[in-house]
Symmetry: C2
Subunit: 260 residues, 2 copies
DNA sequence: GCGTAATCGGGTACGCTGTACCCGGTTTCG
DNA sequence: CGAAACCGGGTACAGCGTACCCGATTACGC
């Protein structure tokens, strides 16, 4: 992963790729590949075998071309990853997205949709992007979330605040959840097996008295599924946003930004 | 990054390292290094030069030893990373942590502390762990957060829900913020420069009509600093948790788990 | 119609990575 | 005082991203 990319043209090329600005030159043979096919192949590999299995050689092999041919379409692996990410973003909003619904329904859908997206493409949370991807897929998701907030008496900065809060919460929760799920797959050790094997060691640490509050927890505390934990916090967050809305309506809220 | 670790002893060794279970054997020369020094060197490199600069050779060079000597102390790079992560976690809770404070003060401190931690060690959010680290540092932070929730009339699962919600939110927000900050450093392009250079392209996309709500946003919408966005959402989340607390007290809440 | 410029496909090679394997020197026990 | 156990680390290998280069292919200008 070459993230030390000091080429100043890097970003421009990357955005051009994302937004399909490259027009075919007139001369020369026709390209045998498309960005679509390359990105799709990358996503398929990352989904099936994990992000570590993604290499330029592997993608090229999947497409039945020479490794260096990929560089005719993509400046480097970083840009390929950005294409893959924006492609994954395209599943939001889905066909089942509620339209013209109230803000809470929309944000809840966005949260659940992103959650599903992260579970379907765990590598989304394992990548270390140089800059958050600003491609068509990401824009569509953002615009949809925004559509639910337009009728509300908020400033634009507050609307962004609502979306950033939900997106941040989902990404953080999904990260924790996905890491736990990947662990089971990669090590071949299930959660139960993990606890039966290593419970004693951790229990010894508990009994040391260094973590009195954790030691006092009931046994089934960690038995709650990650998804349920996610839902619980999500509803709390939405409640908090609702409370802000009420306070803003009543004039008692500390507002964010000028008039929207 | 070798994450395809199918060795079933991997986890055990890793936890043993984290909890310092390895007793010195009687025979043979004394080790010239310690896990502490190795982890500290790794953290120093990752902080200063980014996670991509972290390699076994680089760490060994930093310590003035041969590359392979590290493998006398650490089974592999993955375990080194776990040591580094738990070491970073140790800064939470800090010396300024409020003790015996109300739950909101404690959770707010946890959130801000984790935020500071992620900004100080951005690589924490770029790592793809096999399993969330369960070392002494992480436990101490968890126990502290828990301490603020003990007096509340909640089930243990709800207490976990509170902490998971805050931790998740902070991690997600910090991830977005850190990626943006790293981008500026790595590409040498400031945020302003980015927008002046690539604003036109994105503006063209806006004017396409595909993103009507985003296009209608006022110009200063994205001018709000990431930290302020973080604070805004955090207070909303804490408000939502407070609302749940009130509802639980009033018996109108949908509870999580059995009796705590 | 044809020379030529431009582009595509991709082979070779370089410097980097994690780490398996092995050997020699050092320490301590029986 | 052997012998067992352990430390340090050199060598080597497979795999990575990609710089550089060259032959084949295409379409434009004349």
């Amino acid at each position: 992963m070459t993230s030390e990319n000091s080429d100043r043209g890097y970003l421009k090329r990357s955005l051009d790729l994302l937004w399909g600005q490259g027009e075919r030159p007139s001369r020369g043979p026709k390209p045998g590949l498309t960005l679509e096919r390359i990105a799709a192949a990358g996503v398929a590999i990352a989904d099936a075998e994990g992000i570590d299995a993604l290499s330029m050689r592997r993608v090229a092999a999947e497409l039945g071309v020479g490794t260096m041919s990929l560089y005719r379409y993509v400046p480097g692996k970083a840009e390929l990853l950005e294409l893959m990410i924006d492609r994954a973003y395209r599943m939001m909003p889905g066909d089942d997205a509620p339209r013209d619904a109230d803000w809470r329904t929309v944000l809840r859908y966005v949260a659940h949709g992103n959650w599903r997206m992260y579970l379907a493409h765990p590598w989304l949370l394992q990548t270390s992007l140089a800059r958050p991807v600003l491609g068509p897929g990401a824009m569509a998701g953002f615009d949809y979330a925004l559509s639910g907030l337009v009728p509300l008496p908020l400033t634009d900065q507050e609307r962004l605040g609502f979306i950033a809060a939900v997106d941040g919460y989902v990404a953080g929760c999904a990260r924790a959840h996905v890491h736990a799920a990947l662990a089971a797959r990669q090590t071949g050790i299930s959660d139960e097996e993990f606890w039966t094997t290593h419970g004693p060691l951790l229990e010894k640490a508990m009994l040391s008295g260094a973590y009195p509050h954790a030691a006092a927890l009931s046994e089934d505390t960690f038995a709650v599924p990650g998804e349920r934990l996610f839902e619980f916090g999500l509803e709390r967050l939405l409640d908090g946003l609702a409370a802000f809305l009420a306070a803003a309506d009543g004039g008692t809220a500390e507002r964010l930004g000028g008039e929207g």
